[in-house]
């Protein structure tokens, strides 16, 4: 070998070196080609990833929009639910109020029916008493009627008061007499006149009137212990009693006189 190389001439050497150089160049070119392909593949992968990233970003954006939309929708649903609940609560309250009004009307109907269900004077007074006890809630009261001369009120029905003390009230005297004289209702807490000592516990005095003519009065003293004051329905009952009790008492008195007259004749 060494003999051969020793024998290698300059041209052989140049040829060999050139060949080696060519081979090296080919290798370099091949490597370059590999690198170029690899770069292209990487570039393509990069582009693909970029595209994928953009697609994902777009998707994320869409999801965000969708999320915002659903959040708005959820808030809207919450708001509508709250509105519906409030509406339902209002309906329930209204329904209860209507039921209560129906009940009050029914009570007024019962009171009217009871007052006009008889011509007997004592039964009319008994009906007034039942209304005051059961509908107003009072067990201390007096039912007064005007005497023949129109000068005093006479007690014709009572509960829970001493009839000896409350038997007669001169017209214009004390809160009861004044209510009967003026025809104006007295209610506790409203600017009063001077109460007579026996009127210390008077809660209300309702003149019983036919038109402007006072035929009697209803004196309401202490309400039942568990009743803490007059309610709107009580005032409606007072309105009803003011006219209907007066009418019923008047008619029953006329009836009594007619019966007495027919007995005499």
């Amino acid at each position: 070998m060494s003999g051969e190389s020793d024998r290698e001439g300059p041209s052989d050497y140049v040829f060999r070196v050139r060949e080696q150089t060519r081979q090296h160049l080919r290798d370099l070119l091949s490597e370059n080609e590999k690198l170029r392909r690899s770069t292209a593949a990487l570039e393509s992968e990069r582009n693909r990833l970029l595209a994928e990233k953009m697609a994902l970003q777009e998707k994320l954006l869409n999801l965000r929009e969708e999320y915002d939309h659903f959040q708005r929708e959820q808030m809207d649903l919450h708001r509508r639910l709250a509105e519906t609940e409030e509406e339902s609560r209002q309906f329930a309250l209204q329904s209860l109020e209507i039921e209560q009004q129906n009940n009050n009307l029914a009570n007024l109907y019962v009171a009217g029916y009871q007052l006009h269900g008889t011509l007997d004077h004592d039964e009319v007074v008994a009906a007034i008493k039942e209304i005051v006890i059961n509908l107003i809630g009072c067990e201390e009261f007096g039912v007064y009627e005007m005497d023949e001369e129109g000068r005093a009120l006479r007690l014709t029905g009572f509960l829970g008061i001493d009839p000896a003390i409350y038997a007669t009230v001169p017209l214009g005297s004390g809160l009861i007499g004044r209510a009967a004289a003026t025809g104006a209702r007295y209610l506790l807490g409203e600017p009063p006149g001077i109460p007579a000592p026996r009127e210390a516990h008077l809660t209300a005095c309702i003149p019983l009137k036919l038109g402007e003519t006072v035929l009697g009065a209803l004196a309401i003293f202490r309400l039942l212990a568990h009743k803490h004051g007059l309610e709107p329905v009580d005032h409606e009952l007072f309105d009803l009693l003011a006219t209907h009790a007066a009418t019923a008492l008047y008619v029953s008195r006329l009836h009594r006189e007619r019966v007495a007259a027919s007995r005499l004749s």
């Binding site: 029914a106 009570n107 019962v110 009871q114 006890i133 059961n134 509908l135 809630g137 067990e139 568990h226």
Partner: protein
């Protein structure tokens, strides 16, 4: 479905009428008794599903009626609501001691009464 029966016991016709009106929307069959003795008799005959019982009545008061109803087999378990003007603690206690199921005060609130009746009858 059979109509449920309610016995109304009160010596006041106004009260009976108010209770009738208050319970009218409940679709119940209503009976009335004007005193304690009549109440016991009607309860035995009609076997009501519920009794509304006044306290102050002629012949026998509501507490006594309640005690007797509780002492008799057929009426022992009938729910009884005492309806009274007496709102003092002692009276309410007396009512429950006599065996009542519930205690309602006058003046009567029809809406409240119907609610309590429905609740006791499981309507």
């Amino acid at each position: 479905m059979t109509q449920k029966k309610i016995l109304l016991v009160d010596d006041s016709t106004t009260m009976i009428m108010m209770e009738r009106v208050a319970l009218s929307s409940g679709g119940y069959q209503l009976f009335a008794a004007r005193d304690g003795e009549e109440a016991l008799e009607t309860a035995r005959d009609q076997r009501p599903d519920l009794i509304l019982l006044d306290v102050v009545m002629p012949k026998m008061d509501g507490f006594e009626v309640c005690r007797r109803l509780r002492a008799e087999g057929p009426t022992r378990n009938i729910p009884i609501i005492i309806v009274s003007t007496r709102g003092e603690e002692g009276n309410i206690e007396k009512g429950f001691d006599s065996g009542c199921t519930d205690y309602v005060l006058k003046p009567l609130n029809g809406v409240e009464l119907l609610t309590r009746v429905r609740s006791l009858l499981g309507d």
